[in-house]
């Protein structure tokens, strides 16, 4: 399922809304999550999962092709941990 398919499905289930509004709703949600992560905040959606930001220290990497060592700067990476309910559902435990 892609974002546009998600929008279509929601629009079908909410015939009283304009598709344009459904698009804005979906975009707002993901934009809000992204903005929070960019701020370094955590996003916790009980039952679904939690998004957080982890830091990766600077390290000396190696170009696997040439073997040359390069400096890899410290960086932050987004991380998602699925919520217990969703994890259980995936494994038919609910």
């Amino acid at each position: 399922m892609t974002k546009s398919e998600l929008i279509l499905r929601l629009a079908e289930n909410n015939p009283h809304l304009y598709q344009r509004d459904v698009e804005r709703i979906v975009s707002t949600i993901f934009d809000e999550i992204s903005t929070a992560l960019a701020r370094g905040d955590r996003v916790e959606l009980r039952g679904f999962g939690a998004f957080s930001v982890k830091t990766r220290d600077a390290r000396t990497g190696r170009n696997p092709r040439t073997g040359e060592s390069v400096h890899v700067a410290k960086k932050s990476v987004p991380f998602f941990k699925s919520g217990k309910d969703l994890r259980d559902r995936l494994n038919d435990r609910k």
Binding site: M1, T2, K3, L6, R9, L10, N13, N14, D21, R24, I25, V26, T28, I29, F30, D31, E32, I33, S34, A36, L37, A38, R39, G40, D41, R42, V43, E44, L45, R46, G47, F48, G49, F51, S52, V53, K54, T55, G61, R62, N63, P64, V70, H71, V72, A73, K74, K75, S76, V77, P78, F79, F80, S82, K84, L86, R87, R89, L90, N91
Partner: protein
Amino acid sequence: MTDQTVTRADLSEAVYQEVGLSRNESADLVESVLSEIADTLTSGETVKISSFGSFSVRQKGERVGRNPKTGEEVPILPRKVLVFRASNVLKNRINGEAGGEDDTDDGFSGADNGGAPQQQPDTPPPMGSGTPYRPGS
């Protein structure tokens, strides 16, 4: 900096501010979005949200684990796990680089900069305290 937690309530509030719906309906829609995604994943289908990331289900085989406390060997049954892969747009935003505004999604998705020197972000990301790693659950 802040190091706060954003919840469903904040997402509903953002939807409420952005679209002219009631607070109740905004909350319902946030819930619908999450449950549509969850249902799709439960059916085994991948969910791709451009310029955000993709969620997919991965099947893990059985393996022998060990109770770290007692050292006892226990079988870990085959199971399904949910993996999230952030898009480059999101990764860049988190590192304070000009995030692509549009859906210039994963143009080079597979290339996880294999050791390429990365530019130092102007401002180090605000991390009050590194997220503690919690093993298992």
